[in-house]
Amino acid sequence: MDDRLPGIRPRPSLWRRLDGTARRSLPTALTMLLLLVTAAPFRLPGQAELQNAAALSCVFFWSVWRPGSMPPPAVFLIGLLADLLDFAPPGVGVISLLVAHGVAVRWRRELTRQGFLLVWLAFVAVASGLAGLQWLLTSALTFRLLPAGPALFQAVLAAGLYPMLAVLLARAHRTVAEPANA
């Protein structure tokens, strides 16, 4: 709980502190869980792209709205898990999520004052740039020019997925992930 704010608050008992910690670590834990779920054998077409899009949406959302619960080490771990699950060259997913986090934190002062549409447009810009970056890095690491189609599909899928995830995450942001509710 934020100590800088004045006011009367309950005594920080062990359970209350545990509750607060759980709420603070919820965004990272939820993102990792979502990664594991999207890697499950659903046989959806484009499931690998969906997995990438889900991780990117979550990291971007929490980095804008609650960067304290999505610190760079957590982003690094999420990216590492995504790369291992994806059988991608290790580091590619990590770096793209870290860049997304950095951009979101840099822009958050402006973004949090704007309506949803502008946040979404910013996300689309980030997702497109990162799909390109991933394509470039994977091409460089495998020493061959990969087809650009999957990168484009990945960007479009991320753009489409973000509003849906944002509705759910915004609800979580106000309720279960709010340390002040502890």
């Binding site: 890697a39 499950a40 059988f87 060259p89 290790p90 990945q154």
Partner: protein
């Protein structure tokens, strides 16, 4: 908790992101320099998750079967008519095949033909897609004391699926023949011309380097070739189809988009030995 002054804490907070970005570049280089380490880490994660996914695969495949059943219900009349016609055609073929088989047996007995040893195989469940955005592969769930080795050949009930490329304690990754990095030596069945089947990450791998003077014919069957000693001869791979831009491609016989169970065959071929197993594991596997 260590108490730090506010400016120091802010400076540290500003530094973490660049440090982690540098770390991820280091990770990228490490993954490239020590491919074995990256592979071990991946297979450790896959090993941990494959029992969970195997447990999940059972109800999920039930759901898929239910959806397929509903879809089939709509076309049941057409399917029935088509199957009846196909059955007639196959019956004619069966009699031809029986005659040829008998003839083959009698000819082989006269020629003192040495029969190929029957290969041993294990059957494994496909538990997850292990391809990612830029690869085509599947993850298999195996028992803890499996005898699967790298380079073994995966087939489904119709044809060639791919080869085992990565191996964990409880799971294995099979690179599909549609993957960009897959190269399969094949023979065009009618012309007996050799070629290479190269994956493109698309649904249809491409034929390359066929012999001069031979043109792959539309609808011609493609089977594996024993060249390079990685595949046994004659495994069914697919059928030649020309793409819109007149490039010969192969439509795989195996249903690669809906693999549920594959058989892993040990033909004892060590033509391309994976780097890790070359020295340490070969003697114990030789029979």
């Amino acid at each position: 908790m260590i108490r730090l002054s506010v400016p120091l804490r802010q400076a540290l907070a500003k530094l973490t992101l660049p440090v982690f970005i540098v770390a991820s570049f280091a990770l990228m280089l490490l993954g490239k320099a020590d491919a074995l380490l990256a592979e071990r880490a991946r297979m450790a994660v896959a090993d941990a998750l494959s029992p969970i996914y195997a447990a999940l695969a059972e109800p999920l495949s039930g759901v898929h079967r239910g959806i397929d059943g509903l879809r089939n219900l709509a076309t049941v009349y057409d399917d029935n008519a088509r199957l009846r016609e196909e059955n007639e055609r196959l019956r004619r073929w069966q009699s031809v095949a029986l005659v040829l088989d008998a003839e083959n047996v009698s000819l082989k007995s006269q020629l003192r033909w040495i029969p190929d040893p029957a290969p041993s195989y294990v059957t494994a469940r496909v538990v997850a897609d292990a391809g990612g955005v830029y690869a085509r592969a599947v993850l298999l769930s195996l028992g803890p004391n499996h005898s699967v080795a790298k380079g073994q050949i995966a087939l489904d009930d119709r044809g060639l699926v791919g080869r085992v490329t990565e191996l964990g304690a409880r799971s294995a990754r099979v690179l599909l023949l549609t993957d960009m990095n897959s190269r399969v030596p094949v023979i065009l069945e009618n012309s007996r011309a050799r070629a290479i089947l190269a994956g493109t990450n698309g649904a249809r791998p491409r034929l390359m380097y066929w012999a001069e003077g031979v043109q792959p014919a539309e609808g011609e069957r493609v089977v594996t070739s024993a060249e390079a000693n990685t595949f046994p001869p004659g495994l069914p791979v697919g059928v030649v189809r020309y793409s819109a831009s007149n490039v010969p491609e192969v439509l795989p016989l195996a249903r690669l988009d809906r693999l549920e169970v594959v058989r892993l065959f040990d033909y004892g071929l060590r033509g391309v030995v994976p780097p890790e197993t070359s020295v340490a594991r070969l003697p114990e596997r030789r029979r």
